[in-house]
Symmetry: C2
Subunit: 213 residues, 2 copies
């Protein structure tokens, strides 16, 4: 990316991570609107002008936090679920366990970053991009499982099923963030019981049809 | 509530509905932040001071819109699903058909009201209240179906399954709002295929268990 020697780049990268660590902590504690750049700079042990110079306005800093946390989460999920030789239910289970494990370990961050980001532009755009990637991952997994059974369903139907599964997982993650006593792995098992039993039926060609009116 | 005669109260109720109709339209068109009270007053054919006097600040007006639309939606769902003698899948199907039908008929309103409300206080509180009621309705329906089969599961498990189903439905409603060409009833059928096939297994005592590590 650049020809700046590594010994000069390293401090900047390290400093940026320190600032993001501080920002995630302060945003999680105060919420986006009440969080101050003063507190973030103080927590990071860096001057406020330096925070602005490195990571921009409070909005840009929040987007950078979202992006870093979201990327970490996606890596945890994709890393767990990427094992094409495993059966579909085990891949889904590993992905869900990684997802709920991540949320369980970052309950405060999830509660603020995710809930804040959901409704407000430009944060909602960043979140929508992550959701779209997650839907693609889930749809790809289902498609792979279907093909292994010698079947396929229309791309639109796959997308809709993936949206439903991602939405159900988001909803349970939100529930988990509000229940500090709840166990992430048990939550993943519950989600499998909602998601997999139905998905397995679909994979085997069983479908539900509306009653004749 | 008051001793004001009906002939005096009626115009106020009618006017409030006109203002809410105008507000929903303007919020849907402009988004919350860009919507102006001038435009809402003009659209309702009422002076701006009158809008403030009747329904308060822009924030309060937005909450009133959310509340009215949310109540209408809940009534549509509850009205469709309230038939204790019908089998569980048919009740769930009717509820989902009503829900997606409502969203499909109000795509613009859903996109703005719901997405805006999701992230911002105090709107998020109003939405969380509606979601909690919806979770209770779904959990009650599942509990009823379980008892009809002579079985029961822990209240916590029921709540979690209901959260997952409500989250999956919200996610698909969001998808529907973005796809004007998609058919609401077909979306309800897709949701049944994700939700019901799995739920039916659970109702019959089939559960998924994690593989031994």
């Amino acid at each position: 990316m650049s020809t700046v020697p590594a010994f000069k780049r390293l401090p900047r990268a390290v400093r940026e991570q320190q600032m993001l660590d501080a920002a995630v902590k302060v945003f999680s504690r105060r919420g986006f609107h009440a969080a101050s750049m003063d507190e973030i700079a103080e927590d990071a042990g860096i001057s406020k002008p330096m925070v602005y110079a490195y990571l921009g306005t409070k909005e840009e800093l929040f987007v950078a936090c979202l992006h870093r946390e979201g990327t970490r989460m996606m890596q945890a999920i994709a890393g767990a679920a990427t094992a094409p030789d495993l059966p579909a239910d085990e891949r889904l289970w590993r992905g869900l366990k990684a997802f709920f494990g991540f949320v369980g370990a970052h309950r405060d961050g999830w509660a603020v970053l995710y809930r804040q980001a959901r409704g407000e532009q430009p944060f909602a755009g960043e979140l929508a991009t992550m959701r779209t990637r997650l839907v693609e991952v889930v749809a790809g997994m289902l498609d792979h499982a279907l093909r292994a059974e010698g079947r396929e369903i229309a791309a639109l139907d796959l997308e809709v099923v993936a949206y439903a599964l991602v939405g159900a997982s988001e909803s349970l993650a939100d529930w988990l963030a509000d229940h500090p006593e709840a166990d992430p792995e048990k939550t993943a098992t519950r989600m499998m019981n909602v998601a997999w039993l139905g998905a397995a039926q679909l994979l085997h060609g069983v479908t539900w049809r509306p009653p004749a009116d």
